[in-house]
Subunit: 410 residues, 2 copies
């Protein structure tokens, strides 16, 4: 990426105009000048450049307000695409989205827990290529890949900092390696943070609001977005909500902390509690040897939804533990809203939403200052993968605000 | 405040240049241009304006690097002053600082817990006036007052949103009323957040870092600063660390949450634990009827420092509970450092620092990404009041970055 101040400023203006067009869907040059604070000549110049690059097109004329009807601009959705890859131990998802953030292709397959990275990354690359071919997307039009996974990460280096799922993954250059195989830029980011910024693009929440996202797949993560900008902290290892303590006297977690939320509320914990509940394991055909907790958890959630009292008790208990952590992030980040995203909210989402909302409404410290809404994700189970793809677009469209210093180009 | 884009932009440039001069202590025009990215003619114009207003002065010449030696600029510390007022139930502190953030006068007195606001605010105003007179500070040079107190607050309205210490305080317009009596602008802000930004000014931490501040007086609060900007969230009611749960099964707190940190680690909790410890209350002459927990707590902390085993156990327990919450804010905000500020860290600060550092180093989720340092405040017991005064300067010097929309002028 060019980094000189001159280019930085031009790219920033370009990104701002593109983001305004995206958010408005259709907009005139005059409205763009008014919304951006830029002069009409600057808008004309930027619009000319964006049209020359094929990123935007004219979309007919607006309603006349007396004078000449204004020509409206909109994104050219098929001008560019991006790919989101969710790397998870139990389930992987790949999506292709267009420039407007709309999903044009999707695939999912068993997770990479059993594969070392040397084997998993070529496999992922094959899947990405096949999906792009299947959707007939020209590789030339693909901006890049958003690879999203658990933390902690060294995001600029494109490296995972934990021995999860196996020792071989720790410190392995996952993003540079995938970039090399695919011949595309690859951005590594946190899955939950990606899901959070994805919701901004998909319009789940007021774009000016401060909101958090609780992302639950096998693990529990989070992200916070302030007026469209992701809260990153020192090293983009923020909002690790699954590993905050909800019980100072609790058991030690492999992460090093005590009483971690994930061990009370996460899918593995709920499956473990179900296995210890007399009769429930047999009834739901839970296999104590199965390490794919997502399947077992989905069965418990489905039973809770259809009135199984024991299953419902376990899901409600998980929801209350999550509610405790939701109150913590609300009181710390002063949130307007919390979005529940990821596959583990897919089945019993309404139980979670109701109980987490109750806890937040009742227990948040500054609840007198403003309400806090708990809402479901717009992208459901695929929130992280869609978020990964959106991150690539976001980084392109708002370049200058959030430079893509971390893109692993060839 | 002028709010037009043209004025906004000029004020922003002016604020940026002032902040660079402040941080550098002495700096040449050429260095200012290099650090700010502004052109030399713009720097010359802004510097001329600031000198005309008496805010900066020339401070001799720098070392020649071959050509003509460069004239150095520095703040004129006596050009402006600001006042910090810490409103606390058990102890109030007022400080006057100069434009460089240096304290020029201080007073403290018993807190306002026993007074309704109708009586307390005129009393505070009298104390402020007396302190300014005593320090021979010209009222014309006083930028304003930073009034800091506990949350939750309606900061723009200058109102406290809780019935603390008594019902009469809730929804009372504390900032507008004090502004009216003093005929000075008054900014209301959170005491812990003020303490946090004060540490930025006083140079406790790297100005580019992401750091948190744990502020402990009678209650426990917090603030997070990212590269010199306070994290505010939706309504400036963020980082309420005293009322996050460290025990999901804990007792209900008057705030509505369960297992709040403050009820385990705060001065009142430690005094309560000491009163329940056989022999300790008598030994330390703790009065069960005394509601000024700061005095009792200071006695316990002093005994812990001088080797009283029972007292040391209580302080260490409080430190471990705080360590648990410190790990939570570190894993959520991805902090580089935590500053311990406020009167309740004054006596046994080194015990707290050591144990909180141990917990953070051992239990923070992303500890492999970067170290997290726990450090004492540069302003000790007066951190909140100094922070309040600094907030007024910060708001003036960085106007445009953080507009003072909340200043309650006449």
């Amino acid at each position: 990426m060019p980094t000189s101040p001159v280019w930085g400023s031009r790219l920033k203006t370009r990104g701002l105009v593109l983001d305004l067009i995206r958010a408005a869907r259709t907009i005139s040059r005059i409205e763009l000048a008014a919304s951006s604070g830029l002069t009409p000549p600057t808008i004309s110049e930027v619009v000319r450049d964006l049209m020359a690059d094929g990123l935007i097109v004219e979309a007919g004329r607006g309603v006349s307000t007396g004078g000449k009807p204004r020509r409206l601009l909109q994104l050219n959705p098929t001008a560019r695409y991006s790919v989101g890859v969710q790397l998870e131990r139990n389930a992987c998802v790949i999506v292709v989205v267009d420039l407007a953030g709309r999903q044009v292709a999707r695939t999912s397959f068993r997770g990479t827990a059993q594969m070392p990275p040397q084997q998993a990354l070529p496999f992922l690359a094959t899947q990405v290529k096949a999906l792009l071919d299947e959707a007939a997307v020209d590789h030339e039009r693909v901006l890049g890949v958003g690879l999203v996974s658990h933390g902690p990460q060294d995001r600029p280096a494109g490296v995972l900092l934990t021995p999860q799922p196996t020792d071989e993954w720790r410190d392995y250059p996952v993003a540079p390696r995938l970039a090399e195989i695919l011949a595309l830029p690859v951005l590594l980011d946190n899955d939950a943070a990606a899901a959070a910024i994805g919701e901004y693009w998909l319009g789940t929440v007021d774009p000016r609001s401060t909101y958090g996202c609780i992302y639950m797949a096998t693990g529990i993560g989070g992200g916070v977005v302030v007026a469209g900008e992701m809260y990153r902290g020192s090293s983009s290892n923020s909002v690790e909500i699954g590993h905050i303590s909800i019980d100072v006297h609790g058991d030690e977690c492999p992460c090093g902390n005590r009483g971690c939320l994930e061990n009370y509320a996460g899918p593995a914990a709920v499956v473990r509690q179900a296995l210890a509940t007399s009769g429930l394991a047999e009834q739901l055909m839970l296999d104590p040897a199965d390490t794919d907790f997502l399947t077992g958890f989905a069965r418990i959630a489905a039973a809770a939804n259809t009135g199984n009292t024991q299953a419902r008790h376990l899901i409600e208990q998980s929801a209350r533990y999550l509610g405790c952590a939701a109150v913590t992030i609300t009181s710390l980040f002063d949130l307007d809203a919390i979005v529940l995203a990821g596959p583990s909210f897919a089945v019993a989402g309404s139980i979670y939403q109701t109980l987490i909302q109750q806890e937040v409404t009742r227990r948040t410290f500054a609840r007198r200052a403003h309400p806090v809404r708990v809402v479901p994700s717009a992208s459901g189970s695929d929130a992280a993968a869609i978020g990964g793809a959106v991150l690539v677009l976001h980084s392109e469209l708002t370049v200058g605000r959030a430079p893509t210093e971390a893109a692993h180009a060839l």
